[in-house]
């Protein structure tokens, strides 16, 4: 006899999708992809496994959240993410404290990139502790079909040409302002389908 129901329920009674099938090795594989993505910005790093993600998260976004977030990382979700089954899923599997305030968030998850708040509304870190800034996880439509941008900086040999689709028109001018805060500033990991692309604060982008 079991007292607990076999599948965890969200507050409205719907069954939650599972987290990692293998929390140790799945998290390690996804972290390695994220490490490579941040170390070599501008490269689409595919994950070697797929996950059943709750709406509206893609497989890569969901996996990244499970890998990096927990009770220590207050996170902000955009309206589209918060309205789906994702918010209950994140709260259950990561023990994630969800907050409404962008300026204190350690992580921010955006699936509706066009309606993101401006980058300066997120936590830029402190001048003596620039590592405390927000890491944004932004789910985009494509890494190749958008307006062409040229990236340079640490981790890129020479320069890289990236064409991310589905970003708001102000994104790259905001990114310039973010660069001026260096060593403070937010970092971004873009996700698309089952792949990651890193954009740390050191990268200069010409739109």
């Amino acid at each position: 006899m079991t007292l607990q129901s076999p599948t965890p329920m969200s507050s409205d009674g719907a069954a939650l999708k599972p987290g990692f099938a293998d929390p140790v090795f799945d998290a390690q594989a996804v972290f390695r992809a994220a490490l490579v993505a941040i170390a070599y910005p501008g490269r689409a790093i595919p994950l070697d496994r797929t996950f059943a993600a709750p709406r509206p998260l893609s497989s890569a976004t969901a996996a990244l959240c499970l890998t990096l977030m927990d009770f220590e990382t207050p996170a902000w979700l955009d309206r589209q993410t918060a309205s789906g089954e994702a918010s209950a899923w994140l709260r259950f599997h990561c023990g994630l404290p969800l907050i409404d305030d962008t300026s204190t968030a350690r992580f921010a998850v955006g699936t509706d990139a066009l309606n993101l708040p401006h980058l300066l509304e997120f936590h830029p870190g402190e001048i003596e502790y620039p590592d405390r800034s927000t890491t944004l996880v932004i789910q985009v439509k494509s890494f190749t079909d958008g307006p062409v941008t040229t990236w340079t900086g640490p981790g890129i040999k020479g320069s890289a040409t990236i064409a991310i689709d589905g970003l708001p028109f102000w994104f790259w001018s905001d990114w310039d302002l973010n660069s001026e805060l260096y060593p403070r500033g937010v970092d971004v990991i873009f996700t698309c389908g089952n792949a990651l692309m890193g954009l740390p604060r050191t990268i200069k982008v010409e739109a």
């Binding site: 972290f31 994220a34 490490l35 990096l68 590592d131 640490p154 890129i156």
Partner: protein
């Protein structure tokens, strides 16, 4: 279902790679921020490890958070694969994650090192983990972290330059030979850990990912691939690396870092490569080439 779900490791009394998952997540977050701010020391919640501080607890925690079942691990101590520290750390990871190990720099995906950068050039995707005793390059100038943190925040590195100038005034040259301070990505002053200054140029524009872990001081920092690493110097006293008059007594290399080895109690000495894998590979290649030549000349005769 994950393809690795059936994996087991030798000592299943511990989680894979010893650390618990929450600790790994915390270290992983620190590693990503460290790569985002090259050379900046990210504080992290360093755990007690089953070996004493000073034996690589920082490097081990970084390696444990990065390593997976498909990795091939190499551990070196002053360039050698067969010294105490290297052997015990390699055995630790074989025990707690049953990972493949190698002595070959080219075959390794993760290299944990104490105080050397391998002579064999690293490739993209390889991870080099340094063990760091003292992450703060300004510590001997300013012992208070409240002050050094401000110095890093505002890039106030004049005091370090003055320290090097005092060497020039006393000795006519910069006397620092290891743990030689470098500016990363044109912004943060960083201790490269006590590697010989011979290895500083290898850090610059390296295709591999370089991670640094200091266990006692609880700091993690990183040099991303293809990043500028400028060793501090003066226009009229440019940065120079060590050179040797002779070559390695075993493999004849003139380009590697040489250790002086005392061979008896009458003052005899020899110089040999500090990187044992590099030296052994070169000796094997030379022996193979000689055997091939002998074979050809034997057939001719």
């Amino acid at each position: 279902m994950s393809p690795t779900a059936a994996l087991v490791h030798k000592d299943d009394g511990y989680n894979f790679a010893y650390l618990d998952e929450q600790t790994k997540r915390m270290i992983r977050r620190s590693l990503l921020k460290a790569l985002s701010i090259p050379g900046y020391q990210v504080p992290f919640g360093g755990r007690e490890m089953p070996l004493a501080y000073g034996w690589g607890t920082g490097g081990i925690q970084v390696t444990a958070s990065v390593i997976g079942p498909d990795d091939v691990l190499k551990v070196i101590d002053q360039g050698a694969d067969d010294t105490t520290n290297a052997v015990s750390i390699r055995r630790f990871f074989q025990t707690v994650c049953d990972v493949a190990v190698t002595e070959s720099t080219a075959e390794a995906t993760v290299v944990q090192t104490r105080h050397r950068v391998p002579e064999t050039p690293l490739k993209e995707g390889q991870v080099l983990v340094y063990q760091v005793p003292q992450p703060e390059p300004l510590k001997k100038i300013e012992p208070r972290e409240t002050e050094t943190r401000k110095m890093h925040a505002y890039a106030e590195y004049g005091a370090m330059q003055v320290t090097l100038y005092e060497d020039v005034a006393h000795f006519g040259r910069i006397a620092k030979t290891y743990d030689y301070p470098a500016v990363i990505n044109g912004r943060h002053l960083m201790s490269p850990s006590p590697i010989p200054k011979f290895d500083n140029p290898k850090m610059e524009m390296n295709p591999a990912i370089q991670l640094f872990g200091a266990g006692r001081e609880k700091r993690i920092y990183a040099v991303p691939p293809y990043t500028s690493v400028r060793s501090l110097d003066f226009d009229d006293h440019p940065f120079e690396v060590q050179t040797w008059k002779g070559s390695c007594a075993l493999c004849g290399s003139t380009t590697s870092y040489l250790d002086e080895v005392i061979t008896d109690d009458r003052g005899s000495r020899m110089f040999v490569c500090s990187d044992t894998d590099f030296c052994n590979t070169r000796q094997a290649e030379a022996a193979a080439a000689k055997a091939a030549v002998d074979k050809v000349s034997g057939e001719e005769a």
